[in-house]
C-alpha cells in the first residue's frame, strides 16, 4: 500500500487519509458582490489537471489535520506535502 507522509505524523498508509479536493481555491474577496455564476465557479468548478496537482488531504485516522500535497494525477505519486499555512511549492 502507498504511504502518504503526514506533515505531523510522518508516513502512514493511504487508508488513513481522506481526499479534500483542489487546494489554493481562493475565497471571494467580496462574497456579497459576486454574481451567481461567479459563486457557482467558486463552489463547484475545479481544475482537472493531468500531472502535478495541488490538493488538500486530511489525516482522518491519525491527527485529523488538513494539509496540502502535490500529487501527480497520472502516476498517483505524491511529490510533496506541506502545511496549510505554507506557500504553494514551485515544482519543476
Amino acid at each position: 500500500m502507498q504511504l502518504i507522509e503526514c506533515p505531523w505524523c510522518g508516513p502512514r498508509e493511504e487508508v488513513e487519509f481522506h481526499y479534500g479536493g483542489q487546494a489554493h481555491v481562493p475565497y471571494p474577496d467580496n462574497p456579497a458582490e459576486v454574481s451567481d455564476e461567479e459563486w457557482a465557479h467558486y463552489v463547484f468548478f475545479r481544475d482537472n489537471t493531468k500531472g502535478r496537482f495541488a490538493e488538500r488531504w486530511n489525516h482522518t485516522a491519525g491527527c485529523r489535520r488538513w494539509f496540502n500535497a502535490i500529487r501527480d494525477t497520472a502516476t498517483y505519486r505524491f511529490e510533496r506535502v506541506y502545511r496549510l499555512d505554507g506557500p504553494k511549492p514551485v515544482t519543476p
Partner: protein, 193 residues
C-alpha cells in the same frame, strides 16, 4: 427515580480475556476521566496551570500527576486522570487553559482503555496495525493514532521492551476490537495455559 448505572461495554468479554496466557494478556482498564484540550501555543505558563508539560513532539505521551498527557495534534492533547471525577477534571483543566485561549472538553465517555501485556502482545498488535511497533522506534513514551483492525485507536507504549501497551478505543468499537484481539491472540493460547 431509577439510578443510571454505567456498564462497561466489555463486561461480557471478561471470561474470554481470563483464558488468555501470560504471554498475551488483555485487561480492561477501569474508567478514567479524560479531557480533550485544544491550545494554540504551549509555554511554561501551561505547566504552571496544569502541572504537566504538554508534549509538543508528535506521537508521544508523558505521565501526568495521576494520568497521562497524550499528543493528538499540533494543538490538541488528551489528558487523563484516575484521581478526579470527569466533572472535577474538566473544570480544573478548563480553568488552566481558558485564560491562555484554549478549551477543555470532557470526553471520558468517548473511549475505554485496554491494557495489553506479555511477550507476544506486540505480535498480536502487528497483525492489524501498520505502524512499526519495535521498541527501538516505539518505546515507552511513544503514542500513535492509527487503525487496529478496522477500528481507530490511540495506542500507547508503556515499556521499552515492547511488552506493555494501552489501547484506547471508542466505546462503540470496543466489542469489535475485543473480538478482533481475541482472534489475533488465539495462536498464543497453548493447551496447558
Amino acid at each position: 427515580m431509577a439510578e443510571l448505572l454505567r456498564t462497561h461495554p466489555l463486561e461480557a468479554w471478561h471470561v474470554a480475556f481470563e483464558r488468555l496466557p501470560d504471554t498475551a494478556r488483555i485487561a480492561v482498564e477501569p474508567f478514567v476521566a479524560m479531557v480533550d484540550v485544544r491550545l494554540g501555543a504551549v509555554g511554561p505558563e501551561v505547566r504552571a496551570g496544569l502541572g504537566v508539560d504538554l508534549p509538543t513532539i508528535a506521537n508521544t505521551w508523558v505521565p501526568a500527576d495521576a494520568g497521562r498527557a497524550t499528543w493528538l495534534g499540533p494543538d490538541e492533547w488528551l489528558l487523563s486522570s484516575t484521581a478526579e471525577t470527569p466533572e472535577e477534571f474538566e473544570s480544573r483543566v478548563r480553568a488552566a487553559v481558558l485564560p491562555l485561549g484554549g478549551s477543555a472538553t470532557d470526553v471520558s465517555a468517548q473511549r475505554i482503555g485496554l491494557r495489553l501485556t506479555g511477550a507476544r502482545v506486540r505480535d498480536v498488535l502487528t497483525k492489524g496495525c501498520s505502524i512499526d511497533l519495535h521498541p527501538r522506534v516505539f518505546g515507552r513514551g511513544s503514542s500513535v493514532q492509527t487503525m487496529l483492525g478496522q477500528a481507530g485507536v490511540v495506542l500507547l507504549a508503556l515499556s521499552d521492551a515492547g511488552d506493555d501497551y494501552v489501547v484506547l478505543v471508542r466505546s462503540s468499537f470496543a466489542g469489535y476490537l475485543a473480538d478482533w484481539l481475541l482472534d489475533a491472540a488465539l495462536e498464543f493460547i497453548t493447551p496447558d495455559s
